[in-house]
Point group: none
């Protein structure tokens, strides 16, 4: 049986059942477990399916809610603590910038402790949540990036140049000693960079799992912006503290 044939069968099964188990595919294709694993990997790489433990499911699952995938839920407790720690830094009457992204989202419930805040954010989902919590919110205009639902582009850059923040809270896709804070999208990086420049004090929020992860575009070095993260190992902590100011959420 040819590779194409097998993969066709997999996709057919997926159309019918929405979910397919790896073990059910073995008799259907006559291929080995290893081969089928590779097939699933390939198909996932071209976004034809989504791998799950034990098999695969359709990309556009019927029940999938785009807001928070299971993946986002992995470090949920860490993120909650980080969010609370960050929110505690805020003072009443301040103007703060909130980045897009789920890590930052966890700050929002704790922001209501403070009175008379004005929040500027480039994340539409975060904006929506801020509205739910009745926080004064302002959105700078911009192009909406589909994948991350963040506002980007020259328009928002121009807008932010006219603003000044008491504090800015930023997400990141990775941080490492050599590469600093990095993110895959250079347009988003530009906004993060500007938010740092326009604020009296900026912070990066990240759970410790992103330590030593490197992405394409750097928006700050570690010594430029302090990091708020959850408990690092003692080794990690001692290494990092030479390069940046760390606040560990407990």
């Amino acid at each position: 049986m040819l590779t194409e044939e097998r993969q066709q069968i997999i996709l057919e099964q997926l159309k019918i059942h929405n979910i397919v188990k790896l073990h059910d595919l073995i008799p259907l294709t006559g291929a080995s477990e290893s081969t089928l694993r590779r097939d699933l990997q390939d198909l996932e790489n071209c976004h034809k399916l989504l791998r799950i433990h034990g098999g695969a499911q359709n990309v556009i699952s019927l029940h999938e809610e785009p807001a928070l995938s299971q993946k986002a839920a992995v470090h949920i407790n860490e993120k909650k603590m980080i969010g609370q720690t960050a929110a505690n830094l805020v003072q009443n009457h301040e103007v703060i910038f909130l980045d897009s992204g789920t890590t930052i989202q966890f700050m929002i419930p704790y922001l209501i402790e403070h009175t008379d805040l004005l929040v500027i954010t480039n994340g539409v989902d975060n904006a929506s949540m801020l509205a739910d919590y009745n926080v004064n919110t302002f959105l700078p205009g911009g192009k909406l990036k589909s994948s991350t639902k963040a506002l980007v582009g020259s328009n928002i850059i121009q807008t932010l140049e006219n603003y000044h923040f008491d504090r800015a809270f930023l997400g990141t896709n990775g941080f490492s000693i050599e590469a600093g804070y990095t993110t895959p999208d250079s347009e988003e990086a530009a906004i993060k960079r500007l938010a740092i420049a326009q604020s009296n004090q900026a912070y990066v929020l990240s759970d410790s799992s992103k330590f030593s992860q490197v992405s394409f575009s750097r928006f700050a070095t570690l010594d430029e912006v302090p990091l708020i993260t959850d408990r690092l190992s003692e080794k990690e902590s001692s290494i990092l503290s030479k390069y940046t100011k760390i606040t560990e959420a407990i």
Copy 2:
């Protein structure tokens, strides 16, 4: 049975019964109590349900998909038809303005029929949904109004004055022969008025239940902007047609 499968079953049950007991899930899934507990935990973490003693219930959150919220669900089929009719008016390569609000939201799934659209909207929830459907979207900057999640204020007014649209699609809180199209918030009315002025062609979308409802602030008279609505009674239809151009969605 795979993890995803079980969790889908749980969510299905939840959709049907609004509440589900842990013990009822055991025979339905064939999984152990422990496993189902973990499933409930996972699903709660991504806000798909709310755990309660002995089981789980639907999340009543404001973050729920707005399409399914109770208020929106009343005239859901009418709104779908209206949304489809309105979306059919759009041509490829056009720049269109979409108002905030749930009625307008129903246009979005039908917009993907058209290529190379640019959509400007003042509704952050609509913007989020447009991103899900991969539609080019631009948000004008502005203050976010908590209750309706619409962008308002002088900032967005200034921005919109510099733009021009091929078509604008607006929601309304009521329409009547004497009062025209009305909405409770004067700031939102100002934006609707401006969107009409800046577009080659504007439309108001409204299900027929809003006939003869009057709210505080008028943003257009009936003869200024055509109405897209669902089947009116013959009497209503004959009265209205003297004052405005009506498109009835079927």
